[in-house]
């Protein structure tokens, strides 16, 4: 009898814990969605569910503000960064994962070390570089700066994955006289998808969320990315920030990321842990 009571108490406690985790994890975003559907004075009465479907905030960010343009900017930067990171990552991972040469371990550690750099430590040098290349306040300039954030872990994740593949894979192709480039394209590329999906997604999320470089290198309204646009969204004359439109913009940029993450969650978790635990 007592044993059963203890079991019941344990189960209830566990259920409460799970419920608490769920609420804490989901509530802030849920509340942003609810707030984004309230405009005018309705916004200033805290409500836990939307009273009616009021899309005025969404209309405002897309019609009165150039939020559509900001989204396109972010998509262009993040897309370019992902493609370039993956291309460079695959070629580098072949060399680092499949070929034994002197200094390979040191090189890998150096590449990993780059991902530990604080962004601020390269800020003034990067500013000078981007200006010298004539890329200041352009999307390619911002994309180039973002490579420092995405390339190291892309190389790392792909190298870890490539190492695990069986050794016999490329031997036959080399015996047949194939060039290394052909081997990478024909033998490895089709096998690398399980690692390229999480690596690419992580790179996309990093570039999509990046704030410091965007705030410094692409500040004019035409080149602003989404995080900068949200951070700088301000009302006309009132002291209070335009919370309604800010929440609407937050929901718009977060929904695609959450959707991607939920669809690919198993892959992402695998990618995150490949990057960290095995390192």
């Amino acid at each position: 009898m007592t044993w059963n009571w203890r079991r019941l108490a344990l189960r209830t406690g566990f259920a409460l814990l799970v419920l608490a985790i769920l609420v804490v994890a989901v509530f802030p975003f849920y509340y942003a969605v609810v707030s984004s559907l309230h405009s005018g004075s309705a916004l200033f009465v805290p409500a836990l569910w939307p009273e009616r479907l009021d899309l005025a905030n969404y209309r405002q960010i897309f019609v009165q503000q150039a939020f559509g343009k900001n989204i396109l900017n972010s998509l262009a930067v993040a897309g370019g960064v992902v493609l370039l990171s993956l291309f460079l990552g695959v070629t580098a991972a072949y060399a680092l994962g499949r070929v034994a040469f002197r200094g390979r371990g040191l090189l890998l550690m150096t590449i990993l070390g780059v991902s530990m750099f604080p962004q601020v430590a390269v800020l003034s040098g990067m500013f000078e570089l981007i200006r010298a290349l004539g890329l200041y306040d352009t999307l390619p300039g911002l994309g180039l700066a973002n490579m420092i954030l995405t390339l190291p872990f892309t190389v790392w994740v792909l190298t870890t994955f490539m190492r695990e593949l069986p050794k016999e894979l490329e031997e036959a192709a080399f015996v047949d006289g194939a060039s290394p480039w052909l081997v990478v394209r024909r033998v490895f590329l089709p096998l690398l998808w399980p690692a390229m999906v999480p690596a690419g997604l992580l790179a996309f999320i990093v570039a999509w969320n990046e704030f410091l470089f965007a705030l410094t290198f692409a500040l004019s309204p035409g080149t602003r990315t989404v995080p900068v646009a949200i951070a700088l969204l301000s009302g006309g004359s009132t002291q209070e920030l335009p919370w309604g439109p800010i929440m609407a913009a937050s929901v718009v940029v977060t929904v695609p990321v959450i959707a991607l993450v939920l669809v690919f969650q198993r892959r992402i978790v695998a990618g995150l842990t490949a990057g960290a635990v095995k390192g």
Partner: protein, 298 residues
């Protein structure tokens, strides 16, 4: 032939990394010894260590003599220590919960990915709105529960602002911690738990004697990753509490000097000090990890 091909394959990545990481870092180091300003980066002169520390006419100047810098350093270290500790403990709890088989496990794992996926700027704004002193839902709920009798200015009050920053950081980063710990938990061998159960050892004892030592390497990696992230915190603080002095981190301080005050020389010196702090902590973390592994009996 394959080694030569390997270098050819590596070359593009190495060139890009040298261009976007190596070169800017060296230039920042160099700018730290000059009096460069942002409006004309080409026009500067070498000033030696003056940006770091200089004694002139009975007064000390430079980053190392700036009390604001030192308070930013201590604040950042304190922030990193508190938030990473909280994230580790809470991450362990969440990971242990996710390691149990129960009906809604998939849903819970998906749900905790949400804070992780939300852009930092967005989470700062979301929490800024929930913590708003006049219209925020948290003040509303807390007053409804009679926990507080008047609205609290969470992000504007200097005593509370840093705790608000910590709370949002913990909310956002705990999922990362939990997922890494969960991955380690799922790799643990099941037989020692079977043995412990047969011997009737209390689960709490099993956790501290078996689980924790086994997942410690993975836990340390996660802690180091998170600590490095926390030490360079910028977005969250910049958006949640803007440039308030009471929450200024090392990154916020350095960027303010560099961009807002246009003092590239001085700001670069501050950036290099941040880089040094992070590099030294990384190296000592790695060295500590090595030492632990060489201890006898492990």
């Amino acid at each position: 032939m394959r080694v030569r091909a390997a270098w050819q394959f590596l070359a593009p990545t190495l060139i890009v990394l040298a261009l976007v990481a190596g070169w800017p870092l060296l230039r920042t180091l160099w700018f730290g010894f000059t009096d460069a300003t942002l409006d004309d980066l080409a026009d500067y002169r070498f000033v030696g260590l003056a940006n770091y520390l200089e004694y002139d006419d009975g007064e000390w100047y430079g980053v190392l003599a700036d009390p604001d810098w030192w308070s930013a350093v201590w604040r950042t270290l304190w922030f990193a220590a508190v938030s990473v500790s909280l994230e580790t403990v809470l991450g362990l709890v969440v990971a242990l919960a996710l390691n149990v088989r129960f009906p809604l496990r998939g849903l819970l794992r998906a749900a905790i990915l949400i804070p992780w996926a939300i852009p930092t700027v967005v989470s700062a704004k979301m929490w800024g709105w929930m913590l708003n002193d006049q219209f925020g839902v948290l003040n509303h709920v807390f007053m409804g529960l009679r926990l507080i009798d008047q609205p609290v200015a969470w992000t504007a009050n200097p005593d509370l602002a840093m705790w608000a920053v910590i709370m949002v950081d913990v909310w956002k980063a705990t999922p990362f911690m939990a997922l890494l710990i969960l991955a380690a938990l799922q790799m643990l061998p099941g037989d020692c738990y079977e043995a412990a159960r047969v011997d009737g050892i209390h689960p709490v004892r099993v956790f501290f004697r078996v689980t924790l030592p086994l997942i410690r390497p993975a836990l340390m990696v996660a802690v180091v990753f998170r600590a490095l992230d926390a030490l360079r915190v910028f977005d969250l603080i910049y958006v949640l509490t803007s440039n308030a002095r009471s929450t200024m981190s090392m990154s916020v301080y350095a960027r303010q000097q560099l961009v807002d005050f246009q003092e590239v020389g001085y700001g670069s010196a501050a950036s290099m000090l941040l880089f040094l702090v992070i590099a030294m902590l990384t190296i000592s973390a790695i060295a500590l990890g090595r030492l632990r592994q060489q201890e006898p009996g492990r």
